[in-house]
Amino acid sequence: MNEPTLTKNELVNAYAQGIGIEGAQKLIKEIIDSLGLPDKSDYTKTEAIKICEALKQKDGFIKILACSLLARVYIK
């Protein structure tokens, strides 16, 4: 059974440090919607990996930060 490994808040807060809260919320919502995942507070390891992989397809620091987040998810 997949235990929750990443919260939506963790994702938003990670990106908020660089692009502000609202920008981060919009970015994460877009990614979650594009993956067809439900909007919820906690994501399983499998879902979290999908989200980070999708963020890695973006450019610039969004991609690089996704690499760090992905590493954290794998470690959890």
């Binding site: 807060n13 990670a14 990106y15 908020a16 440090q17 660089g18 692009i19 502000g20 809260i21 609202e22 920008g23 919320q25 919009k26 970015l27 450019d59 610039g60 620091f61 690089i64 930060l65 690499c67 760090s68 590493a71």
Partner: protein
């Protein structure tokens, strides 16, 4: 011995001579011939290769890092068109550095290249911190900072700055030993017995209502709240600008507009504070060019940047660093200060350095005016700042 730290600042006409002179002055103050790290920040007025040759003549095989700059300072003075040199001799910190090229193309790969040159530090130097210098015109300081975080490990603190060129915006370079390189970064890994300490603070406060970026690509913001970005900027701060003698309807030249934008920068709410992003110039279509990537959907508040707040923020950055140092006796400090702060403070720029001195005491300081500051402690996920002061304290 612990750690010894000295600095000197000099200016002149001949690059090699000034480089040699400033290094010799710093060496004369160091109190030992053993140099473990030399740091050089040089104005674009100079031929960097000749400066480094002159410095190397004095420091020999010591590791040398640094960059081109837009203003230089030490604990005694701030100047333009000068060279500042810092020397460190230490048996409590070990230094190792590498150069990463191709910064514009691939920041992760640039960090990996730099990292490949690191030497292993002994186990009794457990605390790791990296001093990062990046090409200031590569436009990807945030990416470089995060790439460093990703490649060096989440327990490594980061500080540093983006190289400047006296506001010419033509070419900026990072230094490693006798190399001065563009489209590159350098990473200096500091392994310490007692950890270095970092403080970061800006001096901006919001004056506008929340505004949404409705059209942006890369570093360019085209529209805010569905209208031309520059029009919104002028309208939103018209009254605040009047208070400092700026009539937004009379902004005609690129210089006037640039000076206006630096006084009214963007603040992105991050929860506990605002992340400051500086608009550098406008385009013919009324869009704004920022120093780093801006994202559609972000909500910003235009911030004012009063002179007194810039001095206060330097003080707070020093206080934060000092608190983080846990009372360790200090050998010296690095200060990475944005060139925008210099534009705001004008002749009062050194007051900010004095504010740092008042907090950390009478220790050597080496600093330069950057095109972006780097400061990141474990747990943070954004390390690139604009119009901010970053203080790095080196304990004895």
């Amino acid at each position: 011995m612990g750690t010894k730290f000295s600095t000197a600042i000099a200016k002149g006409e001949e690059s090699y001579t000034v480089g040699k002179q400033v290094a010799q002055q710093a060496l004369d103050k160091l109190g030992t011939d053993k140099i473990d790290l030399a740091v050089v920040y040089a104005s674009s007025k100079y031929n960097y290769n000749n400066v480094l040759k002159g410095v190397k003549e004095v420091v020999g095989d010591a590791l040398l890092i640094g960059s081109s700059s837009a203003g230089e300072f030490n604990e005694a003075k701030a100047d333009k068109e000068s060279i500042v040199c810092g020397l460190i001799s230490s048996d409590t910190h070990k230094f190792s550095a590498g150069l990463g090229t191709g910064l514009k193309e691939d920041q992760l790969e640039a960090i990996r290249k730099a990292k490949a040159s690191f030497s292993e530090a002994a186990d009794d130097f457990p605390h790791k911190s990296a001093i990062l210098h990046v090409d200031g015109l590569a436009g990807n300081g945030e990416e470089a900072s995060l790439a460093a975080l990703s490649e060096l490990g989440a327990d490594v603190t980061l500080s540093g700055g983006a190289a400047g060129d006296d506001l010419q915006f033509k070419e900026t370079k990072v230094f490693l030993n006798q190399q001065a390189v563009t489209d590159a970064l350098t990473v200096c890994m500091v392994s310490s017995k007692t950890p270095v300490a970092i403080g970061v603070k800006h001096g901006h406060s919001p004056v506008s209502e929340p505004l949404t970026i409705t059209k942006a690509k890369g570093n360019v913001v085209y529209e805010v709240d569905g209208r031309k970005a520059f029009d919104v900027w002028k309208e939103s701060v018209k009254e605040e600008a009047k208070k400092i003698g700026v009539d937004v309807d009379q902004l005609k030249t690129a210089e006037d507009i640039g000076a206006f934008l630096i006084r009214f920068e963007a603040g992105l709410e991050t929860g506990s504070d605002y992340k400051i992003r500086v608009p550098l110039s406008i385009n013919e279509d009324g869009s704004l060019n920022f120093a780093c990537t801006m994202i559609e959907g972000s909500v910003l508040r235009i911030c004012k940047s009063p002179k007194e707040d810039q001095i206060q923020s330097a003080k707070i950055a020093a206080e934060l660093a000092l608190k983080s140092s846990g009372g360790a006796k200090l050998a010296g400090a690095f200060v990475f200060d944005c060139v925008c702060r210099s534009l705001i403070l004008g002749e009062d720029f050194f007051e900010g350095v004095k504010a740092v001195k008042n907090v950390i005491g009478d220790v050597p300081i080496i600093g330069f005016e950057t095109y972006g500051e780097i400061g990141l402690i474990p747990g943070q996920l954004s390390g690139f700042h604009n119009t901010t002061t970053v203080v790095l304290l080196i304990p004895e």
